[in-house]
Every structure is written in structure tokens, then in C-alpha cells.
């Protein structure tokens, strides 16, 4: 059976589809969005998260690290990231729970019971399981197998995707996905490339493909002041022209709550000083979407 590389499982999640959900985050993403709120999910290789304030200096990580990435000295503990292979041995022994490996290998069968734990909550709320990331479609075979197992259990499924993926990946998950939560970040191709590192043409083609197949699609637009805030009318136009209407559009205002995670994986956060959009800006964005005949969903 296929293995997947996962980041995390989050229960009682209300932002990733209908009802009370459990979201499984998968590792690896083809885009490099400047505002990414899951920096630990970007790279395809496992990455060690280190929360320095939780370290109690027990030194057990240094004892098990095969490459000497974990160093104990008179000054205390130090992580030499360049030596880290992401094996996760240190996480198992860390007493302060300061080390977390982002990127663990699991099979669909192994992770299924965890995703089923809140089945009663799904049933009572119209919720279910969402695959997110990173970009889940980078691991489409794993996703398809897991989604098919969930469907056998009668669980509502959703895939949260940027749609920058081969068509084949979409076709694999399509039969087992109740809702696609699709991020659209910019209408203008050049701007999209500048903000995310990739062209948006394949994304828009995939979106049209899914829409043409009658998929249930919810659109999510990250709203990043100074970055893509002028893109709403263009996005609205694209959405309004899709073969079948989307369920609705949600505008997701930028927040910088991920700063701690950037620190934990020692990544730079290009938009950390970006302001949170004000209510007027959000309202204007929503009005523009409504004007194009789209249904705007609450945050």
C-alpha cells in the first residue's frame, strides 16, 4: 500500500469545509506563496520543528541523533539544521516536547482510525474529513486510497487544493471527493507567478475541468493586502465563467499567526509585517464577488 508523508492531524476544525471536521495535512507543495501559513508543509522532505522555548536541556536528542545535528554544550542545546536528516528519532525522546518532526510516513490504513475518531461529531454536524497541506494532490495516489477508505466508512470528504497538479492526480481523487476546496490566489498570470512562483494557467485549466465534471467546488481567496488585493474582480470574472457554478466563495483575510511556525522551522517569513485587512476592505472584496453573481460564504 502507498505511504503518504503527513504533517499533522487537526480535530474539531471548522474552517476546512462543512460541519465539524478532522483535517489531515500532507507534506510538500509546488507553490511558494509568500503568505503561506503552513511553512512546515512546503518542502517535500521531512523537516524538524524546534520550539526553543520548550527545550528543557535534557540532552536526550543529542544522544540519539545519528548525524550530530543535535548538539549539547555548556551553553545548552543547539540544533545544527544542515546536518538533520529528518529521521525523527529525537522527537521520540524529547522530554520537553520541543521537537516535532513535520513529515511522518503513514499508510492510509494506519491513519484511518485516527480520522474516524470523531465520526459521531461528523454525523451530527454534517462534517467529515478534509485533506489539506501542503498540497495533497502531490501525493494523489495516497489521497485516493485514503479517500476511498473514508467513503467506504460513509465519511464526507473534502480536498483542500491549489490545483497546481497533473490532471491525472485530479482524476485519481475525483471519484472519492465530495467537495473540492480550491484556493485561487490571482487572476493575473504574471502576478500569480511573482507571488507563488508558478504560473496559474494549469490551475485555471484544472478548475475548468473540475467544474465541467460537475464537481462540488468551494473557492477560497487568500486576501493579502498589498499583494493580491486588486485581483478580486479578475478572479470573480473567471469564476463566473466556469461551466457550472461554484458552491460559494470565501475570502480569507491574511493573519500572521504562523510567525511561531516560521521560527520553529527556521524559515524566513516575507510578509510577517503585512497588515491584517480591515472590515471595509473585506466588505469591498465580497461586494465585488457578489456583483459577479457569486455566492459569498462567511469567513
Amino acid at each position: 500500500m502507498t505511504t503518504g508523508l503527513i504533517l499533522n492531524v487537526k480535530r474539531f476544525e471548522i474552517h476546512d469545509g462543512d460541519g465539524i471536521r478532522t483535517t489531515l495535512f500532507l507534506k510538500g507543495c509546488p507553490l511558494r506563496c509568500q503568505w503561506c501559513h503552513n511553512p512546515e508543509g512546503i518542502g517535500a522532505a521531512p523537516v524538524l520543528g524546534y520550539y526553543a522555548h520548550k527545550c528543557i536541556g535534557c540532552g536526550r536528542c543529542a544522544m540519539v541523533c545519528p548525524t550530530g545535528a543535535q548538539v549539547m554544550s555548556v551553553e545548552g542545546h543547539r540544533l545544527e539544521r544542515e546536518k538533520c536528516l529528518g529521521c525523527g528519532k529525537c522527537e521520540e525522546v524529547c522530554l520537553g516536547e520541543a521537537l516535532t518532526l513535520f513529515g511522518k510516513k503513514v499508510t492510509p490504513e494506519q491513519i484511518l482510525p485516527k480520522l474516524m475518531e470523531d465520526a459521531d461529531f461528523y454525523a451530527n454536524s454534517g462534517g467529515g474529513v478534509t485533506l489539506s497541506g501542503g498540497e495533497p494532490l502531490l501525493q494523489s495516489q495516497f489521497c485516493a486510497e485514503l479517500l476511498s477508505l473514508l467513503k467506504k466508512e460513509g465519511i464526507n470528504t473534502a480536498v483542500d487544493t491549489c490545483l497546481f497538479a497533473p490532471r491525472k492526480a485530479l482524476e485519481e481523487v475525483f471519484p472519492y471527493t465530495d467537495t473540492f476546496l480550491v484556493d485561487v490566489k490571482a487572476a493575473d498570470g504574471a502576478l500569480h507567478k511573482r507571488l507563488t512562483g508558478q504560473d496559474n494557467a494549469p490551475i485555471l485549466e484544472n478548475l475548468a475541468f473540475l467544474s465541467g465534471k460537475g464537481a462540488r467546488i468551494e473557492i477560497r481567496i487568500p486576501f493579502i493586502p498589498g499583494k493580491n488585493d486588486g485581483e478580486i474582480p479578475g478572479i470573480a470574472k473567471i469564476l463566473a465563467a466556469l461551466p457550472s457554478p461554484v458552491v460559494g466563495v470565501r475570502v480569507l483575510p491574511f493573519h500572521n499567526l504562523s510567525a511561531g511556525k516560521y521560527e520553529a522551522v527556521a524559515a524566513s517569513y516575507p510578509v510577517k509585517d503585512c497588515p491584517t485587512p480591515g472590515p471595509e476592505e473585506l466588505l469591498a472584496a465580497e461586494e465585488a464577488l457578489k456583483a459577479a453573481g457569486l455566492t459569498v460564504l462567511a469567513k
Partner: protein, 741 residues
């Protein structure tokens, strides 16, 4: 303007929020508390031949006849008595209550010297503190409203005569009736005296209301609210605290509706009365907050909510107070919009609300043989404990029982004076397997429960010789019809409750012993005992390893959940339905209230990683900081326990980060969370929607966060008023949930 509303709320609010604390008493109206205390404390010694119920009634009457009065001209519920209560930080007992408390202790110690000694020992080692619990009481509010003071008096007089006419008025009954009649006559005289004083103070409107209530049952919405306060203030002069104002929406609605229909009251005026009513409760500063009950099922199975339920909740939201606290009875047919209003309050920071599941309460009553038709009339009192209104004597806190203590006792394997006196077994100091360790745990648990139950029974047998309650009994039809005081077996259901708490500490400690001693063989049981006695010094790594283990109570882990179920099933078999020697049975609860701290102080370090003297786990919560899986896992662990085991309450305390329940979807998720919890048989749910960041800011800058409330157990406190260690505990807990957000 309605004659009952001589002025508005808004312009008087400055004179209402702290009116008890600021009250000035008129010396011309009576004796000072010091003088009263002097007279009243002499009374029993001066009347050595007088039966105790009559001593109680006569001193009560003397107090009502002579207490100094105060009228707040800014309130429509203006009256207060000068009984030496201090209102900081919470309302203390009155001097009369303190005297009664001293007497109870003295009399119990005299009547049951050995029992008293054992009880002190059980408390010292932190096992249990069995007693009769005179402190949780509730009158028959329906009867109080229906009959009023004069009607309750007349009913007692009629029944006394009926017993006499039948030749059944023996000495005990005669004393009982005389004590009730003396008490109610005094109450009526008090109302008349208060009315005369109101006249003098130029408050003719209030004098008229009092004159009416001295003779008649209430007829209007205002009168029924006023009567509640009058009855509460009079009834609570002693030790019995009335732990709810009743299911006030269903109880007051007929008056409210009749007023509206007759054109005596507008909806706006109704709202004004509610503002005064709720603020009056807030100002009284009752410790652990005074409850009001809302919602629930009617006896015919239909929903009891009505337009008044909505108005009460709306006004409560507007006033932004946490006292009264609200007992909201949930059932599957409750209006989703009404539930949303309640959940919005909780989400918005007013967490002084507990949702209680009618179906689970009813099943729990059926388990002790009380039928659905009777159980459906339950009334939550205190923190969340159901009693059958007007028929069940609520000894809801006869004892707590520390489930973690037997783990500690078996671990150390000693045989002490406490073992000998409390009947605890000599256990194997080195059980060869974990199953044998568990066997010793259950043997000790069994003996501990046996001691606790027997001690309660012994103390309940002498309760009438210790604390008769004539005024309270006068409200109960069953007492008046049987001629027996509530504390002399007058109730129809004479049940007593034991609360088995600290399940998280017990389960996690047992599983840690299994791992350290039996599975991984890191050390022997004797060595582990030594480590505990040294409070983990030198073994911090081991302590953290234990804490890092995922198999912990409250996280929906199979082994931990199964062990908790086994422990509660064991306790349930020994407690629930067991005859208590008074014609009633035992009930079981699982909530800890403040006892997690109190009992925690008596305990050494425990193998779950807890340090000596730290609190045990609270209610169904996991150990602080170990709530790794979030709210759904906590609920799943808790509902894995059969809710019908816990007639005496088993609340689930959630803590949710605000971003997890924001917006419309968040409200819907909260609603469905409650629905799932209750569909799975959960007993009650309450909680806080707050982030660690907010709590940290509040700790650093209390001035800016004066109104930040925290649900502590079955009540709320302002976060900034909490002790630092308790604040830190909540911050740690909120940090713990952040990983799940």
C-alpha cells in the same frame, strides 16, 4: 408607568451593583448584629429543656423580630437585614449561620465522637470527608410561589389540626409543627414590620407589595420575583443555603403572561423587572454564584421554554454579569435559535452557564428506581446537581471521594493508624503483576467507599438532633403531610450522594505504574514508592517521560478510557442505589469542585508525574497541559463513561481557542458539539472560549481585563481575581489546547 416600577433601572444602576456591600442599616429598626448574636447564643443554654427544633424556631423568630433593616430607595427589591455578613470577596455566612455551624460541629462531635475522629483522619490523608451536608438546600419553590408565606403558614396550621383531630399528633409531630408555625408566623411579622418601615421611608409602593405578600400568594410578575427574594433572604439566615432560585422561566411565566394579557405590564417593563432581579442576585455576591434554572422538558414531554426564557437570557447578556449562573436544561427538542443564544453568550466570554442533558438525568434517576414522570421534574441545584423539586432532600455533597488516594496507599504499601481506624486493608507491598496491583487498588477503593458510606449513614441518623430545619421543611408538602422535618426523614426521596473525583490522576497514575514497574521494568514498586516520597527529585527525566506518554485520560485513548470506565463501574456498583438507612439510596457524582486543590495538598507525588501537593485532576479534565487531542477527544473519553452512573453530576469542561469557533460556522460547530456530546449520553457541558495569549495579557495587565471571566468548576470567577497559581493553571491549559487549533 407601572405602579410596581416607581423608577427605571438605568438611572439607578450606580446604586445597585454593590448594594449589599454599601447598605446602611437603620439602628432605630432593631438590634445590632453583635447584640443579636449575644442574645441568640445565650438562648440554648438558657432553655436546656426546650427541644432543639423549638430552640431553632424561637431564635429564628427573635432574629426576624429584632434585626435591623435597610431599604435601598434605588431598587424595586430594596430590603436587606443586618446579620453581619461581609461581602468581600464573597458573601460570608451570617452570624446566625456561623452560630448554627458551630452548633452542628459541637453536637455531632458530642453525639458521634469516634466518627468525628475518624472523619478528621480521613480528611487529613485526603481520602474523603463524609458528612450530612446541611449546606446544600432548596425549598419547594413551586409551593412557595403558589401559597406564599401566609398560605404555607395556613397549610402547616391545618395539618397540625388534622393530625390532632385524628389523634396522631404525638410529641415529635407536635414539636415539628410548632417549630414550623413559629417560623412562618415570624416571617409574616417580618414582612409586616418591613412594610411599616417602608411606609415611614416614603416607599408606599413597596409597603403595599409587602402587605399583600404577608396575606396572599403572589399575583403579579413583580410580586413573584419579590417573594423569591424575601423567601431566600429569610430562609438563608441559617446554614442551609438555597442553591437555586428554581426553574424560573417556567415558574414565573404564568405571572408574566397574565400581567401582559391584563395590560398590567408591558414587555419593556417586564425587562426592567428582570434587570433589577438579575442585578440583585449579582450584588448579593454569593460564593460559587447563585443559580437560576432555564429550559428543559415539561412533564408531558414538551419543551418548557417560553418567551420569558428568551427575555431572561437577553437581559442577562445585556447586563454582562456572571452571577446568577445559569443551569440550562437541554433536550433534543430545544429550539436551535435559543441554544445559539446560550452558546453565543459562552463564546462571547460569559461562561457562567452549564448545559445539562435532561435525558441523561432522567436515565440516571430511572437507575435508582425513580420513574421518568417524576424525574422529569428535576431541578439542578448548586453546581449542576439534580434534585426532584419539592420531593427530594438534596444531600448532594455528603462526601467527595478521592479516586487517586487508593493508588497512593497501595503504592506505598504501608499499614498505618489511618488504615486501622478507617478499615482500609493491608495490601501486598510488591504485587507480582499489574493485575495484582489493580486488585489491591480495588480492595482499597472498596474499603474506602465502605468507610465513607457508613460514616455518612451514621451522621445522617443524628441529623435532626444536630440541625432541624423547620422553616425549610415548611415549604415541602411531604414534610407537612408526614409531620416530619426534612432532616428527620420528611422528604419523599431521601437520597445521599458521594462524588468520586480525580479520575484523571488515578487512571494516569495506574497506567504509569503499569509502564514503569511492570511493562518496562524501569524500577520496582518499592523504588517507585521511594521516588514518590522524594517528590521526583533526581528523577525529572522519568517524570517527563511519563508525562510525554500519550496514553492519558481525557484524550480518547483506549487503555486509559477503559480503565476509567472500569473504575467508575466499580464505584457505581458499590454506591448507586445502595440503601442509606434513611429510606433513600446513594447517588454518585464525578465532579471535584475545589477539592482537587484541597485533597491535592494532602497527597504526595503520584506516578502520573504530579508533584506532591499539586491539585489532582478536576472533574473529567485531563491533567493540565496533557489535553493534547482537543475538545472532541475529551468529550469522547467522557461519554465513554455511562452518563446514567452520575446522577450527582459529571460535567465536561471544554476549553476552546476563540478562532476554532468563530463566525456562523463556529456557532454551528458549538451547537453540534453539544448535540453530539448529549446524543452520546453526556451529562453536562460547560467551558471557556479563550486563548492563552488573552490570559497572559490579563495576568500582566489586570486593569484592562477586569471583566474577563473564567469557568472554574461549577461557577465563574473573574480571571484577574484568581490566585496566581490558579491563573497559571488555566494559562497552561490554554497553551495545551493551542496545539490542537
Amino acid at each position: 408607568m407601572n405602579p410596581m416600577l416607581p423608577f427605571g433601572f438605568k438611572e439607578n444602576i450606580g446604586f445597585l451593583t454593590d448594594e449589599y456591600n454599601e447598605a446602611e442599616y437603620d439602628p432605630a429598626t432593631g438590634l445590632s448584629p453583635e447584640r443579636l448574636e449575644e442574645e441568640i447564643s445565650r438562648y440554648p443554654d438558657e432553655h436546656p429543656q426546650m427541644p432543639l427544633p423549638l430552640v431553632t424556631a424561637n431564635t429564628f423568630a427573635y432574629l426576624l423580630d429584632n434585626v435591623q433593616l435597610s431599604l435601598n430607595p434605588h431598587s424595586i427589591f430594596p430590603d436587606k437585614m443586618n446579620v453581619g455578613i461581609s461581602y468581600r470577596p464573597f458573601a460570608s455566612l451570617s452570624f446566625f449561620g456561623k452560630l448554627a455551624n458551630q452548633q452542628i460541629r459541637k453536637r455531632t462531635a458530642t453525639l458521634l465522637p469516634e466518627e468525628w475522629e475518624k472523619r478528621a483522619l480521613a480528611a487529613k490523608i485526603g481520602l474523603s470527608v463524609p458528612g450530612a451536608d446541611f449546606w446544600h438546600a432548596v425549598p419547594d419553590w413551586e409551593a412557595v410561589c403558589k401559597l406564599g408565606f401566609a398560605g404555607l403558614l395556613a397549610r402547616a396550621e391545618e395539618q397540625r389540626k388534622a393530625f390532632a383531630d385524628r389523634g396522631e399528633l404525638d410529641e415529635e409531630k407536635e414539636i415539628f409543627f410548632d417549630a414550623v408555625i413559629l417560623s412562618y408566623r415570624a416571617a409574616v411579622r417580618y414582612l409586616e414590620r418591613l412594610a411599616a418601615y417602608a411606609e415611614i421611608k416614603g416607599m408606599a409602593w413597596f409597603a403595599a407589595a409587602l402587605d399583600f405578600l404577608a396575606k396572599e400568594p403572589p399575583k403579579t410578575f413583580y410580586q413573584v420575583c419579590l417573594l423569591s427574594f424575601l423567601y431566600l433572604n429569610i430562609g438563608e439566615l441559617g446554614v442551609e443555603h438555597y442553591r437555586t432560585n428554581g426553574m424560573i422561566d417556567r415558574m414565573y411565566y404564568p405571572y408574566y403572561k397574565a400581567d401582559l394579557e391584563a395590560g398590567r405590564l408591558t414587555e419593556e417593563e417586564g425587562d426592567e423587572i428582570l434587570r433589577f432581579y438579575l442585578m440583585k442576585i449579582s450584588a448579593a455576591m454569593r460564593e460559587a454564584d447563585q443559580p437560576i434554572g432555564l429550559g428543559g422538558l415539561l412533564p408531558d414531554g414538551s419543551d418548557a421554554t417560553n418567551p420569558l426564557t428568551w427575555r431572561i437570557l437577553e437581559i442577562y447578556r445585556e447586563l454582562d454579569i456572571h452571577n446568577p449562573k445559569i443551569h440550562f436544561r437541554w433536550h433534543p427538542g430545544i429550539s436551535p435559535e435559543l441554544l445559539d443564544l446560550v452558546l453565543e453568550l459562552i463564546r462571547g466570554g460569559n461562561s457562567s452557564i452549564v448545559l445539562i442533558n435532561d435525558e441523561t438525568v432522567i436515565r440516571a434517576y430511572e437507575r435508582i428506581g425513580i420513574e421518568r414522570k417524576d424525574a422529569v421534574n428535576y431541578l439542578p441545584i448548586g453546581c449542576y446537581e439534580p434534585v426532584i423539586s419539592g420531593r427530594e432532600d438534596p444531600r448532594i455533597c455528603a462526601s467527595w471521594f478521592n479516586l487517586a488516594k487508593p493508588v497512593e496507599l497501595v503504592l506505598h504499601g504501608e499499614y498505618t493508624d489511618a488504615h486501622r481506624l478507617l478499615g482500609l486493608p493491608k495490601t501486598d507491598p510488591e504485587p507480582a503483576t499489574f493485575d495484582l496491583f489493580l486488585y489491591e487498588y480495588y480492595r482499597t477503593l472498596d474499603a474506602g467507599l465502605e468507610y465513607t458510606v457508613n460514616s455518612i449513614v451514621e451522621q445522617m441518623k443524628v441529623q435532626y438532633l444536630v440541625d432541624p430545619a423547620p422553616f425549610l421543611s415548611g415549604s415541602y408538602r411531604c414534610c407537612i403531610e408526614s409531620g416530619l422535618d426534612l432532616h428527620n426523614g420528611g422528604a419523599e426521596f431521601k437520597n445521599t450522594s458521594v462524588k468520586c473525583f480525580a479520575v484523571g490522576t488515578a487512571v494516569d497514575s495506574l497506567l504509569a505504574i503499569k509502564k514503569i514497574v511492570y511493562d518496562d521494568k524501569i524500577m520496582t514498586l518499592r523504588e517507585l514508592s521511594g521516588v514518590m516520597k522524594k517528590n521526583w527529585v533526581g528523577f525529572e527525566s522519568l517524570r517527563l517521560t511519563v508525562r510525554a506518554d500519550r496514553e492519558k485520560w481525557g484524550n480518547h485513548r483506549p487503555e486509559a478510557d477503559a480503565l476509567a470506565q472500569e473504575i467508575y463501574n466499580f464505584c457505581g456498583k458499590r454506591l448507586i442505589g445502595r440503601k442509606n438507612g434513611l429510606g433513600g439510596v446513594f447517588r454518585m457524582g464525578a465532579d471535584s469542585v475545589g477539592n482537587s486543590e484541597i485533597y491535592g495538598k494532602t497527597m504526595g507525588a503520584t506516578p502520573d508525574g504530579r508533584y506532591a501537593g499539586s491539585p489532582t485532576t478536576k472533574n473529567f479534565r485531563p491533567e493540565t497541559g496533557l489535553e493534547r487531542e482537543g475538545v472532541t477527544a475529551l468529550i469522547s473519553s467522557a461519554v465513554g463513561l455511562d452518563g446514567s452512573l452520575f446522577l450527582d453530576a459529571a460535567p465536561i469542561d471544554f476549553m476552546i481557542h476563540p478562532t476554532a469557533v468563530e463566525g456562523e460556522r463556529g456557532l454551528l460547530a458549538l451547537r453540534n458539539m453539544v448535540k453530539t456530546c448529549f446524543a452520546e449520553g453526556g451529562f453536562a457541558i460547560q467551558g471557556n472560549v479563550v486563548s492563552a495569549e488573552t490570559l497572559r495579557k490579563a495576568q500582566a495587565d489586570p486593569e484592562s481585563y477586569r471583566n474577563l471571566q473564567i469557568r472554574v468548576c461549577g461557577w465563574n470567577e473573574y480571571f484577574v481575581n484568581m490566585k496566581k497559581n490558579l491563573q497559571d493553571d488555566f494559562i497552561a491549559r490554554a497553551e495545551g489546547i493551542e496545539g490542537t487549533v
